[in-house]
Symmetry: D2
C-alpha cells in the first residue's frame, strides 16, 4: 500500500460541519425564516419515497418481524406516521375547524416506538404479531395523516410556530432513518425464508469497475473541531461543535473489499483468538460465525454466495465487504496491522468532501464494486456504514432537547459504537460529515463495512 500526502482538515480553523446538504427542499430555505411551502414539498417527497420502498412487498411480507431489533414494514409505515400525528397534528385545527382527533384510539399504543414520556407502548418483539391493522388500514392511516398535514401546512398555523416546524423537520429525517430500516429489516426477514426470495428484481449491471488499490492518506496532528453548529438540520447527538486533539494519522483510501476479507478468512481469521476482542471471540464461537452476515455456501469447497436484496448470487471479490460486526471489523484491522479510525479522524477527513456516493437512489441496494474510488481520493460516503473505534457517547456540552424528543438519541449512549458515512440504502439527502449512526458491536444486519486507519509514524 502506498502513502499519499493529503491536506487534512485537522487544525484548520473551522471545518464546515454546519453547511452540509440535507433534505434539499427544506434546506434551500434554511437561512431565512421557514415558510411552509418548502416544508410541504419536502414532506411529500419523503412520504412518497417511503411508499415507493414498500411497494414491492406483499401484505404478508410487510408483516414479517424476524428478530427483536427489526420491525415489520407495516409497522415502520405506521410508526413514522404516528410521529407526525402525535408531535405535529395534536392540538391543531383541521379543515372543518375542529381540533384534530387521532385517526384510531389504539394506534398511539401500537406505534409508539420508545417514547416513554408519551405513554405506554406495545412491546417491540411483538410487532410481528400485529396482523391488524392490515396493510390497507395502515395505508388509510397514512393518507389521513398526510391529508391533515397538507391542510395544516397550507393553513398557515405553523408559520409562526418554530418549535413545530423544527419537530416536523425532525420527523422527515426520522422517516428517512426508517426508510433505511425498511430495507435492512426486510432483507433480514426474507433471508429467514429458505427459498431466499428477493426484495426486488435486479437492475441490469454493467461490468463491475476494477477495484482501485488501497492507499494510505495522511493527516497531520492538531486541534480539530468536530460536530455540528450550523443553522441547518442536525440531530441532537451531532451537537455541539467542539475541539478535540488528534495525533497524526492515516486513513485508508477506500473500504475493505470482499477479496481482502477472504484473505483474512483464508488466513484463519475466525480461528485465531489473538486477533479478537474477548467479547468478539465469545460471540463468533457462540454464533458459529465464520464469514460475514448473509454469506453462505453449500460445502467447504464451494464458492461463497451472498444473499442480497435482489436475491442470492456469488460474492464479488472487488466489492466492499458488508454485514460485518464491529468485532469482525476490529479483528480484520488487527490482522491487517492497522486499526479502525476514531469518529473524529473520520469526520476531519470527510469534512470537506462532497456527500456523493452509492446511496439508495442508485437502486443498486448493495455496495458496488469499487468504482467510486479514483486515485488517492478517499470516497467516504455511501456503500457501507464504516465502523469506527469510537463508543457512542455525548459530545462535551451535549444537552438533550426538552420534551419527548429529548429521548431521541441521548438515552442510547451506552454500549454502542459510532458508524459513519451512510450506506447503499441511505437516502442521499440524509447524510452529512457530522452524522453519527450507532449500533451495538455485534450488529450485522445493517450495511456495515470496514475502513482502516493507522497512526502516523
Amino acid at each position: 500500500m502506498t502513502r499519499t500526502q493529503h491536506s487534512s482538515a485537522a487544525g484548520q480553523p473551522e471545518p464546515p460541519g454546519g453547511d452540509d446538504p440535507a433534505l434539499p427542499p427544506v434546506e434551500a430555505a434554511a437561512n431565512v425564516p421557514l415558510d411552509c411551502g418548502p416544508l410541504l414539498a419536502a414532506y411529500d417527497e419523503v412520504r412518497s419515497a417511503t411508499e415507493a420502498l414498500a411497494a414491492p412487498l406483499s401484505p404478508e411480507d410487510q408483516c414479517l418481524q424476524s428478530m427483536d431489533m427489526a420491525s415489520p414494514t407495516k409497522w415502520h409505515l405506521a410508526h413514522v406516521t404516528w410521529y407526525f400525528e402525535t408531535f405535529i397534528l395534536t392540538g391543531t385545527k383541521t379543515a372543518n375547524g375542529d381540533v384534530y382527533t387521532p385517526h384510531h384510539p389504539d394506534y398511539g399504543f401500537l406505534f409508539n416506538s420508545y417514547y416513554n414520556s408519551v405513554g405506554p407502548m406495545h412491546a417491540r418483539p411483538e410487532r410481528g404479531m400485529l396482523s391488524r391493522p392490515s396493510v390497507s388500514e395502515v395505508s388509510a392511516y397514512r393518507e389521513a395523516v398526510d391529508s391533515a398535514m397538507r391542510h395544516l401546512l397550507a393553513s398557515g398555523q405553523l408559520d409562526d410556530d418554530v418549535e413545530r416546524r423544527g419537530l416536523l423537520e425532525l420527523g422527515l429525517h426520522h422517516e428517512q432513518q426508517h426508510q433505511e430500516l425498511i430495507l435492512t429489516d426486510i432483507k433480514h426477514a426474507l433471508s429467514a425464508n429458505p427459498m431466499l426470495p428477493a426484495y426486488a428484481k435486479p437492475r441490469p449491471l454493467a461490468n463491475p469497475p476494477a477495484l482501485a488499490s488501497h492507499e494510505w492518506v495522511d493527516h497531520p496532528e492538531g486541534l480539530a473541531s468536530i460536530g455540528h453548529d450550523g443553522d441547518r438540520f442536525a440531530f441532537d447527538n451531532e451537537r455541539p461543535r467542539h475541539r478535540t486533539f488528534l495525533e497524526a494519522f492515516a486513513l485508508g483510501s477506500r473500504p475493505i473489499s470482499c477479496g481482502e476479507y477472504l484473505d483474512f478468512m483464508d488466513d484463519g481469521g475466525y480461528t485465531r483468538a489473538e486477533l479478537w476482542l474477548s467479547e468478539g471471540w465469545d460471540v463468533i464461537r457462540s454464533e458459529n460465525w465464520n464469514a460475514p452476515g448473509y454469506w453462505f455456501r453449500r460445502g467447504e469447497s464451494d464458492p461463497w454466495q451472498i444473499q442480497t436484496l435482489h436475491g442470492p448470487r456469488e460474492v464479488f471479490p472487488g466489492e466492499p465487504v458488508t454485514h460485518v460486526s464491529f468485532y469482525e471489523a476490529d479483528a480484520f484491522a488487527r490482522w491487517a496491522g492497522s486499526r479502525l479510525p476514531t469518529e473524529a479522524e473520520w469526520e476531519v477527513a470527510a469534512a470537506d468532501r462532497e456527500t456523493s456516493g452509492n446511496f439508495v437512489e442508485s437502486g443498486f441496494l448493495h455496495p458496488r464494486a469499487g468504482e467510486a474510488v479514483t486515485g488517492a481520493e478517499a470516497q467516504l460516503y455511501g456503500d457501507v456504514w464504516e465502523w469506527t473505534a469510537s463508543p457512542y457517547v455525548a459530545y462535551p456540552g451535549f444537552r438533550a432537547p426538552e420534551g419527548p424528543v429529548g429521548e431521541y438519541n441521548g438515552k442510547f449512549m451506552c454500549n454502542q459504537l459510532v458508524l459513519r458515512g451512510g450506506s447503499c440504502v441511505t437516502p442521499a439527502s440524509h447524510i452529512r460529515a457530522t452524522y453519527r449512526n450507532f449500533f451495538p458491536a455485534e450488529t450485522r444486519w445493517q450495511f456495515s463495512g470496514i475502513r482502516l486507519a493507522k497512526d502516523a509514524r
Copy 2:
C-alpha cells in the same frame, strides 16, 4: 351432588369401539371394498371445510405464528396439501399420462411437519417467517393438488390400491385435525394483538340454557375392553382393543363450569401449594397464572373477561370452563375432593353414547352454557376436550404402522396426557369413543376442560 346408578359398559362382552361414526361418506362403504366415489365426496367435503375456516382471515392474519407450538393458517393449508401430494400423488399418473411432479420443488421442505423419514424440514418455530409462498400461491397449490387428486380418484388407479386408499383416508382425518388447529392457533395469535380482534362476527345467541346440576354417575368394577379394532377408520394409537381392569368409579355428569371454577379461584386455588402437583405449582408461579387462559380483567375488583374467537366478552358462570392446563384441572379436582378420570374410565362411560354435542359445525366456536346436559345423562362429547389422568402411552400390543406414517402418533408417547371427547372446534365426524387426543400438561391454548371422577366407595 346426587348419585345415580348407571348401567356401565365395564365388564360387558365387547363395547362397540369399532362402530363409531367417522367421516360419513367414506364409512358408508366401510364393510365392502372401497370404490373411490365416496372417497372423492369425502375429500371434497373435508377440503372445502378447511377453506371455509380460513376464509374470514386476511393474508396478514394467515401468516401469524404466535408460539412454537402453533402454526400459521397458511402453513396448515399448505401442510395438509403436502400430505396428499407426498403420500398419495407421488408416482401416480396425471391426466396427460405423465408421472406426477411436485407442484414446487421447495414445498416438500417447507411443509413437512415432522416426518423425519421423508426428509429434512423447515424448523417449526420459523413457520411465521414464510411470507412466501403467499396466501394466493398456497391457494394455487391447493387447487393444483385437488385437481390432481380428483383426476386420480376418477382414473381408477386407486381402486386396487388398498394402501393408498388407507393413506388417503388418514389424510382426511389428518386434515380435520389441522382444521381444529387452524382455529386454536389463530385464536392464540389474534389474542397477542392488544386490540383483541375477533376471528369472526358472533352469531346471535339465544338465552343460554340453565346449568344442569352436577351429578355422579356410577360404574361398577370389572374387566373392560377399550380401544379400537373395527374395520372403520381409527388412528394407530387407538389400537389394539384390549382388556383392562377397572375398580368401581363414578363420573361427573357434565364438565365443570366457569362458576364452579371461580369458586376454586375465590377459595385461593392458585395460592395453595397443597392442591397442586409440584410441577404445576412451579408453572403457575413462573407464568403468573391466576385464572384460565384467555381470561383477563382490568383491576382486581373488575369482572373477569374472556377472549373468544368472536372477541372479548364477560365470562358466563354457566358455561364450561376451558383453556385450563392439566395442572389446573388436576388441582381443581383435588380441591373438589375428587380426581380426574382415567382414559379407560372415560371410554367405558362413553362407549354407548351418541357422539353428538357442540362441535365446530354449530358455529358457536366456544363451549356453550350447559344446555347439552339433561338430567343424569353425562354428555361426554363436544364443548371441551376433557383432561384425563392418563399419560399418553402405547396400548398393550401397539404396533406403529410401517412406512413414514409410522411416525404419526407413536413417537409422541412421552410426557403428554390423554384428552377425550372433542371440543367446540372439532369436526363432528372426527370424534369417536376411542379417540385419544394428547397434549403436554401445561397446554392451555386448546379448548381443554375438566370432567371429574371419583372412586366408588
Copy 3:
C-alpha cells in the same frame, strides 16, 4: 436368544407384595406392637451408614452442587437430620424435661427440601452456596439430634405414639434414599472436575465373571395384583395393592450389557430418528449425546472410557450399561425389536424373587459384570435401576397421607417414569418388589439401565 418357560405370578391369588424384607431391625418386630428398641437399633444403623458414605469426602467436596437436581453431601447430611428434628422431636421432652428447641433457628429454612406445608425453604439451585454452616457444624447438628433421638426412644414417649413411630420409620427410609443420592450426586459433582477425581479408592476386583446369555422368560396372561398392602413399611405410592390385567409377555433374563449397547451405537443408534421418541431425538441433539452418561473418549478411534466412583477406566463389554436416560433405553429397545417392560410386568416377575444382588453394601459402587445371572433366572434386583415403560401415576385408590408427609410422593406424579429394582448404590434393606422409583425421562445421573420385554406372540 432362547425362550424359557417360567411360572409367572400373574394370575396367582396374592403375590407376596407385603412380606418383603426392609430395614432389618425394625421389621423383625413388624407383626407385634413396636417397642422402640429395634427402632433405636435401626436408627443407629441408618445414621452411621450415612456418615460412612460421607467419610471419604473433604469439606470442599461436601459443598459441591453441580446441577439443580443434585445437592451437596453436606446438605443431604443436614436435611435428613432436619426431618427427624421437625417431624419427631418437635414437641417432645428432652433429658432435662424441657420441650425440645430446634438446634438452630435458620436450619428449618435451609434444610427443608420441598415441604411447602412446613414453611418457606431455601431455593434448591442455591444449595451449593451454603459454605456455612460448615461441615463440622452440620456434624454437630447430627450429633445433637441423634442424642435427642436416643433419649426420646429410651424415654418411652413414643411407646404409645403410633403416628410418630410411623414417621420415624419413614424417616429412616427417607435417609436411605438420600444415602443413594449422596453417591449419585457426588459422582456427578466430581465428574465436573477435569481431573476426574475418584470418590474412593477401588477395591481389588477378581476377574469379572463371564456374561450370561440373554434369555427370554415367558409369563402368561392374567389378572394380577401389584402394589403393597402388608403391615411392613412401604411408601404411600406403593399402595394400595390392586388388580391389573396383563397380556402374556416375556422378560429379558438380565440387564443389557455395555457390549450390546455398543452394538446399538455402532449401528448408528444415535443418528437414526426412527428409533427415538420425538422428545428423545430433540434431547440427544441439543445435548450432543452419542453415548451413555459418564462415557468419554479422546478421539473417534479410541476406546470408550467411563468415569466411576473409583475414577476413570475402560468400559467393560460384559458389565450392565448404566447412566442411560429413558429415551436411550426406549430407543435401544426399539432397535432390538422389543420394548421396555411395564412396571406391572416387572413387579409380577419380581414378586417371588429374593431381593439379593449387587447393592451398596458390596462396595463395588458400580454394576458388576454379569456375575449375578445364572441360567434363565432373571436377576431383577441391584446393579441398575431398570427403566419401565410406565409413567409414574397414582395407583387406583391411592390416598396421600394426612399431614406434611402427604407431600412425599403424590405431588411428583407427572412427567416421570417408574424405575424398578434398585442399583449398586441402593441399600439392600431399602428395596422390595413393590418399590417404585421415579425420574424424568432425560435423567442420566442415576444408575439407570435397561431391561427388555416383549409381547408374547
Copy 4:
C-alpha cells in the same frame, strides 16, 4: 453547593503521571537497574498479604463461586501462583540444577484465566466445581512456587533478564488485583447465604465523622496530558501519555453519600424512565433493582440495611454510597442536574494529589463516613471506585505488549466503562492517578460509587 476555584493540572506542561507510588520495595529501585533484592521483598509482601486475606475463610468458603464473573478464593490463590510458575519459573534452573517442572500437570489447565495463547483453559463458570485440588493442596502449591521463586531471585538468574523482571513486577500487580477480587467475590458469595454470614469480625468503630458539604471544584479548559510514560510500573492500558483537550469543568468534592442517594430514591429515582439510559431502564426492571446492591429491608417502611464484609447493619446516611451500577450512577447524576466525569477530567484533577485514603490496609473493608473530606479539597482516592462517563478504549498510540501478556488488557476494550481511584478493598500501593479500572455498566459487586461533574458555565 458552593464553588471553589482550584488550580487544575489541565494545560500544565506535564502532570506527574509517571511518578506515582506503586509497590514500595520495587519502586525504590525504579530508576536504577533492578537487582532482585527489592523484588524479593515485594514478592514476599504481596504473597503474604494475599494469604492474610484468605485466612478468615474456611475450606468450604474458599470454594464458593456465586456467579460467572466471580471466582472462588481458592482459585484466586492458585491462579496468581500459576502466573509466576508459567511466566517466570518456566525454563529456569531449580536449586538442584534441573529445569523447573510444573508442580502439577493439570494446574496449567485449571488455573489459566483467559490467556488463549498459553493453551486451553477450564471454563470460568465451572470454577466452583473444583473441590480438588483442596485448599491445603493449593497451599502446598503456593509454598512450592514461593520456594522456587525465592531460589530463583537469590540465584541471580534474573539479574540480566529485564523481560522476566518486568513480568514478575506485572505478576505482583496482578496478584494485588486478585486480592481485591478475593474480597469482592467472597462478599458476593457469602451474601447468597440467607444467614448473611460475615467475612470477618468488625473492628470497633469510632464515631463516624460528620459528612462534609458537597462542593464544586473548578478546572479551566485547556490541552492536558493524561496517561503514563514514566519508568515506574503501569499497566499497558495506561500508556502512552498523550494530549487531550478539555473544556472547563467542575468536579464534586467528594463521592455521593447514602443519604443523598436515598433522596434520589425517595424522589422516585427508580421509577422515572426519563432519568435512565435505555439499557439501564431495561436492566433495573428486569432485575427488579430499587436500591444499590447489598441493600435490603424487611418491609416497605423498615429502614434500609446493607450487607457488609462484617455482616449486615443499617445504612449510614453519611457514608459513600457503593455497589451501584454505571446505570445508577448515571441516573443519579442526571437527577442531580449534573453528569459523571470523563476519565481525563478525573485524572487531571487527581494528578497532583497524594494517593492516600481508605484502602484495604485500614481494615474497614467498607467506605467510611466522609471523614477523609476536608474543606474543598476533593479526596479522589480510596473508599469507592468512581464510575466515569468514559468507555474503556485504547489510548491513541496504544500498543499491546508482545507475548501472552499482550492479552492482559487490550482485548477487553469493548462495552466497559472506566472507573478511577481505588476502593476500600484496594491495596494502597496498587493505585495511582493514571490507573484505569474497567467493568461493564451493570456491574454492582465491586465497591463502585458516584463522583459528580458538570460543565463550567
